[in-house]
Symmetry: D3
Subunit: 170 residues, 6 copies
């Protein structure tokens, strides 16, 4: 997004070159509510009683319903998207791998810590592959999932932001 | 959002002082789908046949179903929120007034142009009131709604961003 | 809706001529649940942490998550629609202006008081513009929003309800 | 709903005594969209491929996806509710029986014809049981479901509408 | 579903011939949450205050909001679908009749007991009509709805499962 | 699920011992609709214009909106869940890794091929870790995602299914 009068860019996505080793960001948080679990069951089609049956869940190791691991993961990627750090600079989300470390209960608030784990230039693709080390944390700073996301990111255009302009109103 | 290693702020909200006359921004766009209208009818409870009955809508001046004016308005405020320009700097959304100028059909893509229309310092409130002139446009650059939104925005802290720090992980 | 045996009209919309000064109605009430806020965030795209992050909201002036002002407004217009008082007699919703007066918390129940504030005949349009003064109240009778809605309303047909008949099954 | 200035009742529910033999009403219509089927699968948990798999549905007798019979039935009861004819006068929905006569495809528009089939006073319950003969029709006037709904309906208060007043703001 | 290496069928639907008198099954359970009621109001369009207005519901015989009877019924049919016992063997859901026996409150967990009540061969249709006696129970084993569902079910193919193969990937 | 009269188990989950090398299953299919993408944007919070803005998507390499990779992945895990092959026998979903190979467009129908890739007994945990090789395919049999899911699965009880009984009504 660009302030047309001042040229100030508020939500500029970052280029491949900007993702140096040591780069660390943290997303906003989001509370995972009972409604989120109900809605995610409905969108995905996964009505596992661990997520949708309070009586059943009582007798499990968790003692209550928990969020789908895929819900937690999906919200985490959305929190990362909301940072705007790849707006118009990502070419593709190429892969992810996650370990599930702990449950997310109704009412827990998750956020994501993202740091650059690795980077490899891919000139033919017009950018490079960035591997992000990712931790999803709850409000008690416990890691609930951790892993790695891979993104193909555009390189900084050699000559000015002109080439970038057409997408600004998207 | 702050890159903890470099201190680079990606999504910094703007202070009252940043909203000078002449400031103009434009949001991303969003396509209003049939599903959005169905979902909005369900969330709001407004099942007016103009939005939910294709047979009825055929015989109206529009010739087809149209989006709720309140859906268009709600999405517009969300597109503005997504700019991040008031992240942690808004105190309150105090009011809005809109004129409905034209229909939004299924498949139309809307975006919002926002410029500073007026500003009034309110020291007691710790900031000032900013009035934004707002136009909601479709993909043919037709104005579908226009009006004014009022926000109470925090003033830039006198001494450093320290006071602002506690909310960063929110 | 018409009882075909008796001709009794249950949900007849009112004509422009019916909206005399002094006309006052009140809608049913609706409880704004956590699920409504979650769903509205999803439909609008506004995931402001004030609405979606319980940890963040604790530290705000409200001490807890609150409903989007646009959710409250959207539900209010739907509650008004549900009265059926403009069924097949409204030509267009032309504009609205609202002041936000107080928060709506999870579990609050809102309803709307609507009275005729002004009216102006517009013969060319086949009716007239009615301005409604609107108050959205919670279960403690506190005004959470107030303002004005403008509707273009059809005039009573000169000769009988015949012209009105084709839309009855809509 | 009552116009407080004029006492005009717009959405008055009907009493047991009002449901004479021969009473017939018809609801508004609603288009059953792809989004409705997707959402209903999610709310109910019924992802039968006949409703959610376009490839599978091609090879069935219907040649395409169809709406859940329970979705059609649920929307029909809601269309009936929206008539307002039992607002504050129903005591309970006691039973229903339906025959499924034909498919509802994506884009079909359904409406409901309701007539009084039988009535039995139940003084002890403060009203009586009304049996409604119900037909759900599509936009080609084909019957897609037909059957019977039973409601226990309050009797008209002997002395004036005073007893009815407390519920008006509900 | 078929394990292609071993030929083991996990979710094989049952044939008309399999539904002997005395056949009884029970579904998994599902907790009806506030979010389910909110979502079902939105999908169906039934915003009866008994389901959506906590203040109103306090003053009713139930003392609180209850689930729509149609929500409970719809979830029950979905729980039955999830058993997979009619996967690719049902021809049509031909009818249902239910008596509503008691309320389902927010947080109640329902499940369904299904037994074969009657069966009638219908050679021309390639199978037979099975009538299931159905009870919907809550977590206290109280019957909240009971009735009868009718399904037209395919007969076991005379020569091998070959005719059944094309649908396996559906 | 157990047929109480015959003891026939329809949806019995499989034990760790049942997952031999060479075990292969395939799920049902599900069509990814525009409504699914809209709903998933709303549940996750990811409104990337590639998924929500038809005008923007036209100018990308895909030429149209595509489904979120996380939506495709979430639906795939749900399709696997629906097989019932781990009902009451899974201890935990411990991790996943996926490569994104191709886009899923509105209207594409996906299904999942799952085979046992590896297994390691973990006596202390009461079962073993099974690694599934997973391919998500569209209706043209193109692989859109592929990878590996890890599940901790219960071992077959030494003495009879008695230990398993308490969960049957869940």
């Amino acid at each position: 997004m660009t302030d047309k009068s001042t040229g100030l860019t508020l939500n500029r996505g970052l280029w491949f070159e900007d993702f140096a080793e040591g780069f660390v960001v943290e997303t906003k948080g989001r509370t995972i509510t009972e409604a989120d679990i109900v809605n995610f069951a409905g969108v995905s089609g996964d009505f596992n009683p661990l997520h949708t049956n309070a009586e059943y869940a009582k007798d499990t190791q968790f003692g209550q319903r928990i969020a789908h691991g895929t819900l937690v993961f999906s919200v985490a990627t959305a929190l990362a998207y909301q940072l705007g750090m790849l707006d118009d600079t990502s070419i593709a989300f190429t892969g992810f791998e996650m370990k599930l470390r702990g449950p997310v209960y109704i009412g827990d608030t998750i956020r994501v810590q993202i740091k650059v784990g690795g980077r490899r230039e891919m000139k033919a693709a017009g950018g490079g592959l960035v591997t992000f080390d990712v931790k999803i944390l709850n409000q008690r700073d416990e890691v609930v999932q951790k892993g790695e996301w891979s993104m193909l990111v555009r390189s900084k255009p050699q000559q000015a932001p002109v080439a970038h302009a057409p997408t600004e109103s998207a």
